[in-house]
């Protein structure tokens, strides 16, 4: 081999020193006048290489870059003799960054429609190195002191800060232990462990809100009323839940009024005491109840005019 760069470490902490050595074979270096080994970081000349001829005739240069401040950089070993063109003999890819910061805000919710447990997290500052995030979990009981059965790792896709554990890997209504492992060449870090029953973190789909006409045959409609019906997504049909309705007139600086608790389904709900002939915005959300769960997102807004 004509020339070869070897590195103290191909990946270092950003700002740390890195030492490289370039060895050039006899047949590539027995030139007149005696050639000089030069170093470049990207296209910038790097002085300070110490060069010597080894007993076996090879030519060696060592250099230490005191602070590597590039997250990616190409280090090149050149040979110069006389007025000839600088000859590149080898290049090495340098990488610098940080060990993975401890991921935080790990939170999960059970999605009944997708039948999977979705966990997301905050990765923390960018370590500038390819970092793998793996959601580790195990089936357990009680406070997750013992690992009953491991659950296959859930490896997040590149640059994604969420991962889904499919239903077939979960035991519902029993606790599972979950934590996140972040790993790159410079180290590994673990998030705190969570311990929960996936069903206690169920997040329902938003309910479906529909406007109704005033009841046809009924008494003449009072002013300042409107009628609506709602139902929840069938994937959570089996769950007892409660809902709440918020509404506000479509006026500047209006505040939300809240009606809570409401049943998870109503074929005909009358809302009165509103400003007559005024447009109102209504939204609803539901939560598993009395058993624990996450509130669903608010439903898409329904716009409706109160009666005159």
């Amino acid at each position: 081999e004509c020339g070869h760069i070897s590195l103290s470490d191909p990946v270092v902490r950003l700002g740390n020193p890195i030492t490289a050595s370039c060895i050039i074979s006899w047949n590539c270096s027995h030139l007149k006048p005696e050639p000089e080994i030069l170093w470049k970081l990207e296209s910038e000349h790097q002085p300070g290489g110490t060069q010597r001829r080894l007993p076996d005739g090879t030519l060696q240069s060592n250099i230490t870059l005191p602070h590597l401040n590039h997250t990616r950089a190409r280090l090149s070993c050149y040979l110069q003799w006389g007025s000839s063109y600088l000859q590149i003999l080898d290049q090495a890819e340098l990488q610098a960054g940080y060990p993975p910061p401890t991921p935080y805000n790990l939170s999960c919710h059970m999605n009944l429609t997708a039948s999977s447990l979705i966990c997301q997290w905050e990765p923390g500052p960018d370590p500038h190195l390819p970092t793998n995030f793996t959601l580790k979990s195990f089936k357990s009981r009680g406070k997750c002191q013992t690992q009953e059965k491991p659950i296959p790792d859930c490896v997040a896709e590149a640059r994604q800060n969420h991962c889904s554990i499919p239903r077939k890997h979960l035991t519902l209504y029993q606790t599972i232990g979950v934590w996140l492992q972040a790993e790159n060449t410079l180290g590994t870090s673990l998030s705190p462990q969570l311990c929960f029953d996936p069903m206690d973190l169920v997040k329902l789909q938003p309910p479906i809100l529909r406007a109704l006409e005033p009841s046809p045959g009924g008494a003449p409609a009072l002013p300042g009323c409107l009628w609506l019906s709602w139902e929840t997504h069938n994937s959570s049909w089996f769950m007892r839940k409660k809902c709440e309705l918020r509404y506000q007139p479509r006026l500047a600086e209006a505040n939300w009024a809240l009606v809570t608790p409401l049943p998870s389904k109503s074929l005909h709900h009358e809302l009165c005491g509103l400003l007559p002939a005024t447009a109102y915005i209504l939204q609803m959300r539901c939560v598993r109840w009395p058993l624990p769960g996450h509130w669903s997102d608010w439903s898409p807004s329904l716009e409706r005019n109160a009666t005159e």
């Binding site: 004509c2 590539c28 990207e42 063109y85 003999l89 290049q91």
Partner: protein, 173 residues
Amino acid sequence: PLGAAGSLPQSFLLKCLEQVRKIQVDGALLQEKLCTTHKLCHPEELLLLGHSLGISQAPLGSCSSQDLEVTSCLSQLHSGLLLYQHLLQALAGISPEVSPTLDLLKLDIVDFAAYIWQQMEDLAMAPSRQPSRNPTPTFSSAFQRRAGGVLVASNLRSFLELAYRALRYLASP
């Protein structure tokens, strides 16, 4: 000393010219990719390495205008294309960004070599055996494959310029 120029069908020569231009485009793309992706832009910086790796130039002496001899020119063109085909094969694994361009260049060279050989056979101009394979350099690192790519593309460029002049001369009425 045109030799069997008259016997070369015009469509053969036109298709040869088209293939040379196609390979020139592929070769230029390869050089551009190696420069933008790996900052290896100057073959002059890699001559020493190229010499030590044994990257040779393909001879095209019989195609130079002074003493153009058709049969040996086609034969040299064919052998040269085989040399570049084997050199490019040795560069496999050059880098994910450059590989697609390298593969397309290789395919076009393989097809052009096969096209010339078939025509030489059809016109009974082909030597009895395909030319023996030159020893191909071994590239022992990603850097050497990229540097080798720059040198091969550069040599191929001058090889094709000479070939194009000869073919255009043969195709001229």
